[in-house]
């Protein structure tokens, strides 16, 4: 397979890039500590409280990730998308978006290929927007906002992804 070398390079780049943000935050902490040490300590202990709040839900997130990885293979997700059309295609692309993991840009090359093979813009937009529903992050969401809110939001998010998909399809070349 070509492009393995370049893949590992972009992976390295991504790792480095992912550390820029926390590094900058630490830098600000450093500056703050130099100017107002007591504020910096207070900020740090406040962060500790935020962390304690999310640590249990994050544990559940990890368990859900493992379950997802056992039962869902990216290859199966790809097979769902674009092949069928009509109601089945809509349901499948929405489901694929919901269960897809990883950052959205990791999916762009694949989506591009699918579209070149004839997948509709409508379904691709449904896929991207359905990604706002994150089943494995639900523990965190519920701990912050409550179950009722999460259920209602999920329903409207899925419905909204179809509306967004419809307009995107209608206003582009579909």
């Amino acid at each position: 397979m070509n492009g393995e070398k370049s893949q590992s390079i972009t992976w390295k780049k991504r790792v480095i890039r992912s550390f820029i943000f926390p590094f900058l935050v630490l830098l600000i902490y450093g500056v703050l500590f130099a100017v107002m040490p007591e504020k910096a300590i207070a900020a740090f202990s406040s962060s500790e409280r935020v962390l304690l709040n999310i640590i249990v839900p994050l544990g559940f997130v990890f368990i859900l990730l493992v379950v997802f990885n056992i039962f869902l293979k990216p290859v199966n997700i790809i097979k769902f998308l674009g092949k069928e059309s009509g109601i089945k295609g809509m349901v499948l692309s929405s489901a694929a978006g919901i269960v897809s993991v990883g950052p959205v840009y990791a999916w762009y090359p694949l989506l591009k290929e699918l579209r070149e093979k004839g997948a509709m813009n409508f379904l691709i937009a449904v896929f991207i927007n359905s990604r706002a529903v994150k089943p494995f992050l639900l523990p965190v969401m519920i701990s912050y906002f409550g179950l009722k809110y999460v259920i209602i939001l999920t329903i409207f998010t899925i419905a909204g992804s179809f509306v967004a998909g419809y307009f995107t399809g209608a206003l582009t070349k579909d």
Binding site: V50, R131, A164
Partner: protein
């Protein structure tokens, strides 16, 4: 039992293709009857994602074994996960190789990766460990940004006054939702960060309308990744989808919170 062999040509005299992802054909042979079909590899000409197309093809043909020269670890993982056995380092013509495989000669000297048979507990353990590893990797991937966000929120909690925040978020639902949607559109990354930020903003008395708009636009509208989306799916698609999604996010926020308030009473 069906064997897929990456091949340079469509018939049994062709040489085994040396790269799984980009070889020109796949010759798929029934081991018992020797009936075969050859399928052009849709990924042969593309530089990126070629492996994916080859994997999808092989999986959809319900193949049990793949014989090839070389297969990337990623592709190999996908094949193993789909219960397909892979033998790499295979050379020669298709017919030679199949004969060798039938006699069991390939097994002895090639780098064979045994397939995972579902049902056996030994194998389920392998699947479990593999999933555990990839989950750990995904989890570790979100940690740097997550810790940055947590530290930043701690700082905001300490330094930011309610007054300052309420000068942006007025408490008036309509402009607040609009602001929330703008905020979420600029930021991107793992949505768990938007939940944490949203949850903390609620404590400052910012309306749930605004927080919901942040959560939705965080994923569905992305200014940061817009160039990448344009490059992959076209300028028009990216522009239209992001603009449409922005307004729909506002609608979702209004509907969600209204319904929630109605239910809670």
């Amino acid at each position: 039992m069906r064997i897929a062999i990456s091949a340079d040509g469509p018939n049994l005299e062709s040489k085994v293709g040396q790269r799984f992802g980009t070889s020109k054909y796949f010759v798929i042979i029934d081991k018992e009857t020797m009936a075969f079909e050859s399928v052009p590899n849709p990924g042969a000409s593309s530089l990126h994602g070629a492996g994916v197309e080859a994997i999808v093809l092989v999986v959809s043909k319900k193949v049990d074994t793949v014989l090839t020269g070389y297969c990337s670890p990623t592709a190999m993982n996908h094949l193993l996960n789909n219960g397909i056995e892979i033998l790499t380092g295979v050379e020669g013509s298709i017919s030679e190789v199949v004969e060798k495989y039938k006699k069991g000669e390939l097994m002895e000297n090639m780098g064979v990766e045994h397939k995972i048979e579902s049902g056996s507990s030994e194998i389920n353990r392998v699947v479990f460990i593999r999933s555990l590893k990839s989950s750990a990797r995904q989890f570790v991937n979100i940690l740097p940004t997550l810790s940055g966000v947590v530290l930043l929120i701690g700082m905001f909690n300490t330094l930011l006054s309610k007054e300052l925040l309420s000068s942006v978020f007025s408490g008036n639902a309509a402009p607040d939702t609009l602001w929330g949607a703008c905020f979420g559109s600029i930021f991107a990354g793992n949505p768990v960060n938007s939940y944490i930020i949203g949850g903390e903003l609620l404590k400052y008395g910012i309306s749930l309308f605004a927080v919901t708009a942040i959560i939705i636009t965080w994923v569905t509208v992305g200014l940061v990744q817009m160039p990448a989306e344009m490059a992959a799916l076209g300028r028009r698609f990216a522009l239209v989808r992001n603009i449409v999604s922005f307004f729909i996010a506002i609608a979702i926020s209004i509907l969600t919170v209204t319904v929630l308030n109605f239910i809670i009473g």
